[in-house]
Symmetry: C2
Subunit: 416 residues, 2 copies
């Protein structure tokens, strides 16, 4: 626990979310207030901006624009996917980081991201400690995948979940509008954890969601899937809506999208092989098998950058996560990640902010509990609804200018 005086660097890493910039706003606005923090820098493209000595001087930004970061999706400083080697194997990057930290007298380092980014954060933290260079390092969690260990949920998840649930409700109304059968398959992000796909169950809970939901937590049997779709079609005037996680795998462990290309296409005698994303492939399988109208839809990048549908809870929590990181670091904490703890003792949802060893978050994955997946593995139960519903409350978006969102415009003045 050391109280340090010096500059701070904040970096954003990994896939963007609707609220990663809200955490940036939390870090920046708090750091600019702290007397022990002598300069506030933003790293261009995360850790790469440090290696490249490309830092933005945040004191040069208008306060109003920093406030607008709360409602601006994606990573305003630029993001990066760069995995640091182990320091034992190759110290080059670490030496460079230390060099830059010394050059600018950086005594606070905040890194915002998911599992991989917390790995970076952890490695940098450990290296600095080993080197005897005093620098308080705090990780700020972020991921629409919601798969970080040790935190009730992750900033970014709730807004993406709200996008998925709201859009599913709208799609449900659209996809059932004709008096003819139609099967709609929607592909949702989440390679290994099904949290975001599970959010489509919030729409089902409102009576306007998918009939079937498939998470990567369970193996996906293509034949069983086709039978289940037919069952729904038979009882529902030929209509069926399916939500699938991009990461679903066959019982043999192969990604379903790949498995379909190979085996199934041949088996179903496709005349006009319509390859493409998973949703289109599954939809085509159904179309070929049952001769019904189908549509494959991918929520694509929209689900992670749809800030116009951000959850107010998410924006507030993401902001506070950044703010708490700065306060903790100034108070002497280091080598930690901010985590959320859910407190329902008052009968209402309250989020408490805690710290956890950042090493625990590095490269781990938290999956949807199997007991939350109900019936034959195609729906989420009340436990999930109770978990997710408090997180998507309230609206919170950028002010309108000409009827369109007024997002933050940073000057991005490079430090000389």
């Amino acid at each position: 626990m050391k109280n340090l005086v010096g500059a701070c660097i904040f970096g954003q890493s990994g896939g963007p979310t609707s609220v990663i910039n809200a955490s940036a706003a939390g870090v920046f606005l708090e750091a600019l207030k702290q007397k022990n923090i002598t300069a506030v820098y933003g790293a261009a493209h995360g850790i790469k901006g440090i290696l490249d000595d490309r830092l933005y001087d945040i004191s040069k930004e208008d306060k109003k624009e920093l406030e607008l970061l709360k409602y601006t999706p994606s990573s305003a400083l630029g993001s990066v996917r760069y995995k640091l080697k182990n320091a034992e194997a190759d110290e080059t990057d670490y030496k460079r980081i230390l060099e830059i930290f010394k050059k600018y007298n950086v005594r606070y380092f905040f890194y915002n991201g998911g599992n991989d980014s917390m790995d970076t954060c952890n490695k940098v933290s450990k290296y600095l400690m080993k080197s005897g260079y005093d620098c308080n390092v705090i990780g700020v969690p972020k991921t629409i995948d919601n798969d970080l260990y040790g935190t009730d949920h992750c900033p970014g998840y709730a807004s993406a979940a709200k996008y998925v649930a709201t859009t599913m409700m709208e799609l449900n109304l659209d996809a059932t509008v004709y008096d003819k059968g139609q099967v709609t398959v929607v592909e949702i992000m989440g390679r290994n954890a099904g949290w975001l796909t599970a959010a489509s169950a919030l729409a089902s809970y409102k009576g306007l969601g998918p009939d079937l939901i498939y998470l990567p937590e369970l193996p996906f049997d293509i034949e069983k899937f086709l039978v289940r779709v037919k069952e729904i079609m038979d009882k529902n005037k030929g209509k069926c809506i399916v939500a699938v996680s991009e990461g679903i795998k066959t019982p043999e462990g192969e990604y379903v999208a790949e498995a379909i290309s190979a085996e199934q296409m041949k088996k179903d005698n496709f005349g006009h092989a319509q390859l493409g994303g998973l949703a289109i492939k599954l939809a085509d399988l159904i179309g070929n098998r049952y001769g019904v109208k189908v549509r494959g839809i991918e929520f694509s990048l929209m689900q992670r950058c749809g800030a116009h549908l951000a959850s107010r809870i998410d924006v507030e929590e993401a902001f506070k996560a950044g703010q708490k990181a700065v306060r903790a670091a100034v108070a002497g904490e280091t080598d930690k990640m901010v985590v959320f703890e859910r407190d329902m003792s008052s009968g209402k949802y309250v989020c408490k902010y805690k710290l956890m060893d950042v090493a625990l978050a590095a490269n781990t994955e938290k999956k949807v509990p199997l007991e939350w997946i109900t019936g034959d593995g195609t729906m989420l139960g009340q436990a999930f609804i109770d978990y997710a519903l408090p997180l998507i409350q309230g609206d919170c978006k950028a002010p309108l200018e000409d009827g369109l969102p007024r997002f933050a415009k940073l000057k991005k003045v490079l430090v000389k």
Copy 2:
């Protein structure tokens, strides 16, 4: 001009929009007030509901739910794509319609839809007149394609345009976040008219839109396109965002998606042919040619049912279009469609509601004026911005319940 006393039927037809139900609310709430209208019916699945004698008694609905229709996307009564044969060729359907109209003493008929639906409306109107059956028929325009003749714009267009522009801005922030090159191709609806794809220029106007926009109004040369993308990549750190209308065609008149499957795939020596939608195909072409990361995105159904992003102007105008249709019919008008006239004489945008012969709207198509397409045919000029901007003003969406939209729930009580 006959003042009639009797029942009214309202039907929805064609592809859903975010605001077609706002027009339904306008018709229903106004019709329920009119003394000359003795009963208010909604046809299940448009004209098919009349042929099948499936009518809902709207007087049985809660007023509150009818109000919520304003914010509920898609077609609450169900839609249909059913083209009436010419009465000269086959009178069967017309006789049935007349039979149903007589059965319920229907003296007012309102039909909500695009070109094809106005064709239906026109045919029914002409047949009733020929038969000497008094019934005032008014068409209510609707289409995200904005391609109806005789009206400044169509209800449904503005909300879809707002969805496209807002989402494009968010995507722009997401797709440019890494320090590596990336080309993003977004496919937008519009088979023959490029109005909706053009709306992506509103995002470009805000500095966060596509670099290149391709409308079906101009032929699409694949080689020239690849050269233009490269030019943008070269001056923009390998990044380029493209918006294409689903309906773009080669100079030979073939849909580009089909042309690529055949010729181009071979030419570019695709190892792993990634067929799919137009966006994915174009993205893959670029990826193969230039070895850059690419992503193809389709706005799919979301662009036409994204009521959470509805334009307030659009919702209001769609509601009033329904209301005006009823008032005009009660005043004795028939065989007309409600049209919008833009009045800028006060210096501000004002929408005036007029009537036009419905025959003029049937099966016509209004395209984007070629002189609004600028430069080398890949961007929209100020004339388009001036046209579109007033239409997307203001927000207007369903109240939240559990953080999710509370859409209208109709009882849909069938008339015995």
